[in-house]
């Protein structure tokens, strides 16, 4: 059974249709969301995080229809979410900020301190846990964001541009964390960095103008690029370009 099932999802931002009848299902594993700017990646992540209401369609997470308030609350206990801009309280330490999110998730108070320390350690910030968030570098703040997203050991983890601001070493460590989490959790990662997808994702979904342009494994996407001779500096970039081209001009390239 899928952890997430989306049927006929439509999201409109004023006059723009951000998602246009999207059907998707995600199970445990690391799922990369790729696509050009404005393709609908953030809109999809925000609907799955239950912070944005869809204009149409059905979203089921962990077997619950999140359109209803009661199930939505139950699902949120098991959701982790890192928005592109998550915002933090300047006076909070790392420990306090992650604990605040644990409180939002209604985690039992008795286990919160240990869960916070574990989450912070997993992103490599154990030695800065009592530092004010405002004193950290951009990359460290991003890791605080990842820590708050995993503090409740979520069954669904939604990460919007999680590697923005991380240096290469931190990205390598983050991908290891993603692979570890993906063993039991449905992890959906929106990114522009195809190397993140290549090394950490078990599946890739390419969105273009609110529609699904491609779904498959990173290896299959890379093979698509090789077979079409599309532009790009890596096999996956060529696959990305080829899949986008095929979606924009159906019939020219098949998969």
């Amino acid at each position: 059974m899928s952890t997430i099932r989306v049927t006929g999802l439509r999201v409109r931002h004023r006059r723009t249709l951000a998602l246009d009848g999207v059907d998707l299902a995600f199970g445990p594993g690391v799922h990369g969301l790729l696509g050009p700017n404005g393709a609908g990646k953030t809109s999809l992540i925000r609907v799955l995080a239950t912070v944005a209401e869809p204009d149409g369609g059905r979203v089921e997470i962990l077997g619950e229809d999140v359109a209803d308030r009661g199930p939505r609350g139950r699902v949120r206990r098991h959701l982790g979410y890192l928005p592109q801009e998550f915002g933090y309280y300047p006076g909070f330490t790392v420990r306090e900020f992650v604990a605040y999110v644990a409180w939002l998730k209604e985690m039992p108070a008795a286990g919160t301190d240990a869960a916070v320390e574990r989450a912070v350690a997993r992103v490599g910030l154990a030695d800065r846990i009592d530092a004010k968030v405002r004193t950290l570098s951009g990359g460290m703040v991003r890791r605080v964001g990842i820590a708050q997203a995993i503090v409740n050991d979520p069954r669904v983890l939604l990460l919007d541009e999680p590697t923005a601001g991380l240096d290469p070493e931190q990205r390598v460590e983050f991908r290891e964390l993603l692979r570890e989490l993906g063993a039991t959790t449905a992890v959906i990662v929106s990114t522009h960095l195809v190397e993140d997808v290549a090394s950490a994702c078990t599946e890739v979904t390419l969105l273009e103008r609110g529609r699904v342009a491609y779904r498959g494994t990173p290896a299959a996407l890379a093979a698509l690029g090789a077979s079409t001779g599309a532009r790009g500096d890596s096999p996956l970039e060529r696959g990305y370009t080829a899949a986008l081209g095929a979606h924009r001009a159906p019939g020219e390239v098949t998969r």
């Binding site: 928005p83 801009e85 915002g87 209604e106």
Partner: protein
């Protein structure tokens, strides 16, 4: 250092600073009332009764800001009980503190007028927090009360007690109805919808 949820919530909304600011507003109002020799003539309390609630409402309005609106939306529990408690507690506190500046002569810009104006101004800022964002929420109330303060002196007619409610001396029912309506509508809007995010998703 604490990881208690309610205390973290209070700090996230800068409630310690807000409480200090409300105490400072009260002290300023008491000082201003004495400076104006209001004990000689209660009518001299007009600026205090008009402006002190405005300052308190601005402090309350800014406290409705959240830095992590997007994450707050993922909370398991609905937000309305916390918002209601937040708004009512601060409004009640301001309504209890500010009348200390205008004790006595209740019918002429005394404690009832101060409480009425606190309710009305807080309602305006709460509504503005929903529509404009918490950090700018003081602007409409400031503009309205300033305009009424400057423009209502020579105004005549029954409707004056309604639209010039911040400048009415005491128990005028129209003024109370307008202020209570502003508090009810603004408060309900805020409790149901929350403050508009000030950040990139505004």
């Amino acid at each position: 250092m604490t990881t208690s949820g309610p205390l973290l919530y209070a700090r996230s909304r800068a409630l310690p600073v807000t409480l200090a600011a409300l105490a400072g507003t009260t002290a300023f109002a008491v000082w201003a009332a004495r400076l104006l020799d209001a004990y000689l003539d209660p009518d001299r309390r007009v600026p205090v009764v008009a402006l002190a609630p405005l300052l308190a409402a601005a402090v309350i309005g800014v406290s409705l800001h959240t830095d992590s609106a997007e994450l707050d939306r993922t909370a398991v529990r609905p937000w309305w009980p916390r918002r209601l408690t937040h708004l009512l507690a601060l409004t009640a506190l301001a309504s209890a503190l500010l009348p200390a500046a205008v004790l006595g002569e209740a019918h002429t810009f005394g404690p009832p007028a101060m409480i009425r104006n606190t309710l009305g101004c807080t309602g305006l800022t709460a509504a503005a927090a929903v529509l404009l964002g918490a950090r700018s929420s003081w602007l409409p109330a400031f503009g309205y009360v300033s305009a009424v303060y400057l423009g209502s002196a020579g105004a005549r007619g029954r409707a004056v007690t309604v639209w010039a409610w911040p400048m009415q001396p005491g128990a005028q029912s129209g003024a109370w109805a307008a202020a209570l309506a502003a508090f009810a509508v603004g408060g309900a809007l805020y409790v149901v919808r929350g403050a508009r995010p000030d950040g990139p998703r505004a």
